[in-house]
């Protein structure tokens, strides 16, 4: 038996080696730019260079001292959290009605919500800017939050819908016949079982919102600028390792976000997109 297994393994050694090589190459290709950026953020000279000439935190200090970066960081966090929350509420509502309803125009609504995935950000940005100018909200927080919510809604809705499809429809019926009215069914059965979808939705939404640039460029003003916009404006004026420092902060923030979500929901559950059952 053992020799049989070994022979079986042996046949694939060559293929396995090539496989590992390809995977390693891809990993290197993906991570090297990130690693380069992290290293060069500690460069004492004002040139984006590798390898660094020494170790210094001056660009991080620059980052912390410049008010535009500080504001951008706070704005990004605020807008990220609020737009995620807004998209989540909308996504759950829409998800439920699209999943259950058979009302006319359902496909149209779904396609409309999904459109930011295929439309160029410029178009959405210009459109939102026009809406904002009509309503007098140009550059204000509400329009930025709504814009971000629109951009992340497709991801949230997808996660919610997948989660809904994984819920056994008999569970709601079982709850109903056991005496739960629609509200109780939602809070005691549907919502708890939506947890993986909600977790995945939050994760996607936060990452998308934190990184959103094109639309933000159009709808933000100086007071509402998010980090990518601040960064863009900064690079228009200077090229120095400050952007590398910002990138490093971004990378760490993303890792922390994922880690926190893993603690809260469990990444495995999120990625498998299924319930505990």
């Amino acid at each position: 038996m053992i020799s049989e297994a070994k022979r079986y393994e042996g046949k694939f050694v060559g293929g396995r080696f090539v496989g590992w090589l390809v995977v390693s190459a891809i990993l290197v290709f993906l991570t090297v730019p990130t690693i380069l950026v992290v290293f060069s953020s500690f460069n004492p000279t004002s040139v984006l260079d590798f390898p660094p000439k020494g170790i210094s935190l001056r660009w991080y200090l620059n980052l912390a001292e410049r008010p535009d970066f500080r504001l951008g960081f706070v704005n990004t966090a605020l807008i990220g959290v609020l737009s995620t929350f807004l998209a989540l509420l909308t996504g759950i509502g829409l998800g439920l009605s699209i999943h259950r309803g058979s009302f006319p125009g359902r496909q149209v609504i779904y396609a409309g919500i999904m459109s930011p995935l295929v439309l160029p950000g410029v178009i959405i940005g210009v459109g939102l800017l026009m809406v904002a100018s009509k309503t007098g909200g140009v550059g204000r927080f509400p329009i930025v939050i709504v814009a971000h919510a629109l951009m992340v809604l497709p991801f949230v809705l997808r996660s919610i819908l997948i989660s809904l499809e994984n819920i056994d429809p008999n569970l709601e019926k079982a709850a109903a016949i056991l005496g739960a009215n629609a509200t109780k069914r939602f809070f005691h059965v549907t919502l708890p079982l939506l947890r993986p979808g909600i977790g995945a939705g939050i994760l996607f939404a936060l990452i998308m919102s934190i990184n959103e640039f094109t639309v933000s460029l159009f709808v933000t003003a100086r007071a509402t600028q998010t980090m990518p916009v601040v960064l863009f404006n900064y690079t228009m004026a200077y090229i120095d390792p400050t952007i590398a420092a910002v990138s490093t902060v971004y990378i760490i923030t993303t890792i922390v976000t994922i880690w926190l979500l893993d603690r809260a929901v469990g990444i495995a559950t999120i990625l498998k997109l299924e319930g505990q059952g």
Partner: protein, 354 residues
């Protein structure tokens, strides 16, 4: 007591239920039996309140509940896949209905424990549903349904997902629990043996209509239509014509030709096309052939199969009709073998016109 009056349900152009009338007595164990698409699940769904009826009424204990939503009907149901809440432990699953009714925690605990002991699952209250075997999940589902003391218990194919040995065990247990609680129970099944072994009465459905309501003995002994006979998997159902009546006897000419059969017919029935059913366990093996007398025939044995307890003897009689005989008496079968001749007699009361 559950009373259905002219219950009608349409899905698109499909008539799922067509003016169904049915009365299930208090404490009765009642089976809805039919092939898939016969409307039995729709019927259960209407009693449960999952669908809205297009016509007719559902009455439970004298109250019209046709437009009352599920959660106010005070009934309970065990689903085919059990539908246990995966995010709740066994205790919370069983206590769900009581919690929805706003009962206090002490009483919930007491009742849940009692229900769990009824289904012999003491000590399982802190398990997750996914940690349980199929049979245990089934028991939890049953406990969850019984704990709310429902007016009616609905069971949707309750044993279908279990393997054979477990199914027989659960069947016995289900019957015992139902009897001891005296709870009105309606269950849906496509399995004839499940229906007849569990229930007091059976309704057979075909394309949205109830075609027969009878005791288990009744549906097997007096199938009302050739559909029922075929659905029950009965052997010896033939088509023919009634050509003559004399007092309580009818002469049938089978479509396949050959000699006529005489049947005891106590109801009014016009001459003409009919189906008839010869009960396989009532065909008698005769020593001699009384030529020319009605219902005395001879044939050739095609095959003898032992089925545990009884033998199935496949015989082709002169006219080419294949007859199936169930013979329980070993001594009569011992001398028989395939290919040999056999004389038979069938009493007119054992030939049923349907």
């Amino acid at each position: 007591m559950v009373h259905l009056l002219g219950l009608t349900k349409q899905f698109g152009t499909v008539m799922a239920l067509d003016h169904v009338d049915l009365k299930v007595e208090r404490g009765e164990f009642f089976a809805l039996l039919g092939p898939s698409g016969s409307g039995k699940t729709t019927l259960l769904g209407l009693i449960a309140g999952f669908h809205e009826a297009d016509g007719g009424k559902v009455m439970i204990e004298g109250a019209d509940v046709t437009t009352i939503p599920s959660h106010k009907r005070k009934i309970a149901m065990v689903f085919q896949n059990y539908a246990l809440f995966p995010h709740l432990k066994v205790f919370e699953n069983v206590g769900f209905g009581l919690k929805m009714r706003g009962m206090d925690r002490e009483e919930i605990r007491e009742r849940v424990m009692k229900a769990l002991s009824l289904v012999r699952l003491e000590g399982f209250e802190d398990r997750w549903p996914k940690q349980l075997s199929g049979g245990q999940q089934q028991r939890v589902a049953l406990a969850r349904a019984l704990v709310v003391e429902p007016k009616v218990l609905l069971l949707d194919e309750p044993l279908a997902a279990l393997d054979r040995g477990l199914r027989d065990e659960m069947r016995a247990e289900l019957k015992e629990i139902q009897r001891s609680l005296g709870i009105t129970t309606i269950f849906v099944t496509h399995d004839q043996s499940e229906a007849v072994s569990l229930s007091d009465r059976v309704a057979i459905l075909d394309r949205g209509k109830i075609v027969q309501v009878d005791s288990p003995q009744g549906i097997y002994g007096r199938p009302k239509s050739s559909f029922v006979a075929r659905f029950l998997g009965l052997h010896n159902v033939f088509s023919g014509r009634i050509i003559r009546r004399e007092e309580n006897f009818a002469w049938i000419e089978p479509d396949s030709g050959g000699h006529q059969w005489v049947s005891l017919l106590l109801t009014d029935r016009a001459l003409g096309d009919c189906s008839f059913y010869v009960r396989p366990e009532r065909i008698r093996i005769a020593k001699q052939l009384r030529e020319g007398e009605p219902n005395h025939l001879s044939g050739v044995i095609k095959e003898i199969t032992y089925q545990g307890v009884y033998h199935e003897i496949r015989v082709e009689v002169q006219s080419g009709i294949p007859l199936m005989i169930y013979e329980i008496d070993e001594s009569r079968v011992a001398s028989l073998q395939a290919g040999s001749k056999l004389n038979l007699y069938i009493d007119p009361k054992d030939i049923m016109i349907i």
